[in-house]
């Protein structure tokens, strides 16, 4: 974990409201593990104080990139920042995915929208290739499909409006695949909470291991404020653990969703 002022190398629109930001972050980039995130302070935001968390999408030498959607005041301001501008970055943060071992289980990745960003490094660093299930509402929500293919992964896209790939929910495509009951598989998922819950259920149903990357609001990002807690099963009951520290990736069997509301 390092705090560093980073310079924007490029910051370009991907599709629709999605952008790719590349920064030079020589102290952070070499340390990154798949599924980890950075906590970004968008300096022009003056009356909105907090940093914003983003999964680390790609790493190359001393640069790293994120793939983000403009959804609010911070990401909107970020999307207008030109190359050369500076950001403050803390990273890499959190406990990421377990990289599949060669000859081990076949990884099935499941992503919704910008969830793809959290999975790229995992796909890239996994000696075992597998299938990526990617879903979104519309065509523009399907991100970096080709980049996963270029890694040698099979990609199955679904859109809710049928404008690209199969029509329907990504978890539906996953369910169909799991129905084949091929042995030795493991799920890795990142996306909106309802999708993660559905993946968790499928994992339980098909008795498969699954690692889920949760998306919780954060303040500090480094484990002190206790904003980002989720109920996690422990021996005899459950306790609140921190998405930013014990997570964002949790074993799906441990997440005690039902305690959260």
């Amino acid at each position: 974990m390092v705090e560093q002022t980073v310079q924007i190398v490029s910051n370009q629109r991907d599709t629709d409201l999605y952008f790719r930001l590349v920064v030079r972050a020589p102290q952070i980039a070499p340390l990154v593990q798949p599924g980890q995130f950075v906590h970004l302070r968008i300096l022009p935001l003056k009356h909105a104080l907090l940093r914003r968390p983003f999964s680390i999408f790609q790493v190359s030498g001393d640069t790293l990139s994120i793939l983000y959607k403009s959804v609010g005041q911070g990401t909107e301001v970020l999307s207008q920042m030109p190359p050369g501008d500076e950001l403050s970055m803390i990273g890499p943060l959190g406990h990421g995915f377990t990289v599949p071992a060669a000859g081990g289980e076949t990884p099935l990745l499941v992503a919704g929208g910008y969830g793809m960003a959290a999975l790229y490094l995992l796909a890239q660093r996994s000696p075992q290739k597998g299938i990526v299930f990617v879903g979104g509402r519309r065509r523009v929500d399907i991100l970096c499909e080709e980049e996963f293919r270029a890694l040698g992964w099979e990609v199955r896209a679904t859109t809710e409006d049928g404008s690209h790939g199969e029509k329907g929910l990504v978890t539906h495509a996953l369910q169909t695949e799991l129905g084949r009951r091929a042995p030795g598989r493991k799920l890795f998922a990142c996306g909106p909470t309802p999708m993660l819950k559905a993946v968790g259920q499928l994992a339980a149903e098909f008795n498969l291991p699954a690692e889920l990357s949760l998306d919780e609001h954060m303040a500090c990002g480094i484990g002190v404020c206790l904003t980002c807690v989720v109920p996690i099963q422990t021996g005899d009951g459950w306790e609140y653990q921190r998405t930013c520290t014990e997570g964002p990736v949790f074993d799906s069997r441990q997440v005690a969703w039902e305690e959260a509301k």
Binding site: V2, H47, L49, L50, H217, C220, G221, I222, V224, L226
Partner: protein, 301 residues
């Protein structure tokens, strides 16, 4: 140049501490800053037993501030001593432990436990957490209860006692005086201010706890006024806090009457803040040719 100040019998190498609940148990920030540069490390509020805390959402970002209702999640005295004390006791700077309870007896018992632990710098009595149903704020808004809590802790420990006052009172002077009279060695001012936000799309409160405590730069002018008033009412030192982002903010608190300050919410977005405050304070003193930081305390006229 002297930066050191005294809080009761405790000497701080400089007046810049951190605010309870915004710095975890110190260790979390160790990868990012050198804790041994601080005046003191102040840990999150601890009661006797482990506390699960409130449901989520627990914080919400508001204009120039943060709303929180964490609900004092924590490991309890034993958990704290087991998990965090081994690290903290090795620090060169003192650790101030923020404690609370739901009864006067619990406060005293927690104080006693830390008294016997050995090596603790001071105890900060949190009588003002707005986010706990039982305990917390009621001790801070009732002068009699406040006196009882402070007196009971005073009996239970030799450690320097800091009483963290509630801002949610008509006038802070009687509370400051009550804490002083009951044996408190210092005051911390202020805790977060009761507040609330609503999501107009869902018509639900932004926090699961409905209401929470407001912190950050938005409350600084309120905190400055409370420190100013309390400093006129008591002789014991005050640790000022509320929205400190830089050395200028900290100096404003010193001039208002604080002997030391604490950096709170700013840690979340800028972990270097406390160190920047120390550096900026040094620079300011150089520019103003001040030999002793204590010559700033209460100098607003």
């Amino acid at each position: 140049m002297n930066l050191s100040v005294k809080i009761g019998s405790l000497t701080l190498q400089n007046p810049v501490t951190v605010a309870s609940g915004t710095f975890g148990y110190g260790a979390e920030y160790a990868p990012l800053i050198d804790l041994n540069q601080l005046g003191a490390v102040v840990v999150k509020g601890i009661r006797l037993q482990p506390v699960r805390g409130n449901r989520t959402p627990r914080t919400f970002e508001v204009t120039s501030g943060l709303l929180n209702a964490i609900g004092l999640q924590g490991p309890g005295v034993d958990g704290f001593i087991r998990k965090y004390w081994p690290f903290l006791k090795e620090l060169k700077v003192p650790t101030i432990i923020n404690i609370w309870g739901t009864t006067v007896e619990e406060y005293a018992e927690v104080a006693r436990r830390f008294d016997t632990l050995g090596g603790v710098g001071a105890l900060e009595l949190n009588v003002s957490c707005p986010n706990i149903k039982e305990g917390g704020a009621q001790f801070g808004t009732d002068v009699k209860l406040l006196s009882q809590v402070v007196a009971a802790c005073r009996k239970a420990t030799q450690l320097p006692l800091i009483t963290k006052l509630s801002p949610n009172v008509v006038s802070i002077a009687p509370y400051a005086q009550a804490a002083e009279a009951a044996g408190s060695d210092a005051l911390s001012i202020m805790n977060s201010f009761p507040a609330m936000a609503i999501d107009i799309a869902t018509r639900r409160p932004r926090l699961a706890n409905v209401t929470g405590g407001l912190t950050g730069p938005c409350i600084k002018p309120i905190a400055i006024k409370l420190v100013w008033e309390a400093a006129k009412a008591v002789k014991i030192p005050i640790i000022g806090m509320g929205g400190i982002q830089n050395a200028a903010d900290a100096i404003e608190f010193l001039l208002a009457g604080a002997t030391a300050v604490a950096v709170g919410t700013a840690n979340f977005y800028e972990p270097q803040t406390a160190l920047q405050v120390i550096a900026g304070l040094r620079q300011f003193m150089q520019q103003q040719r001040l030999q002793d930081v204590r010559d700033l305390v209460g100098q607003c006229r």
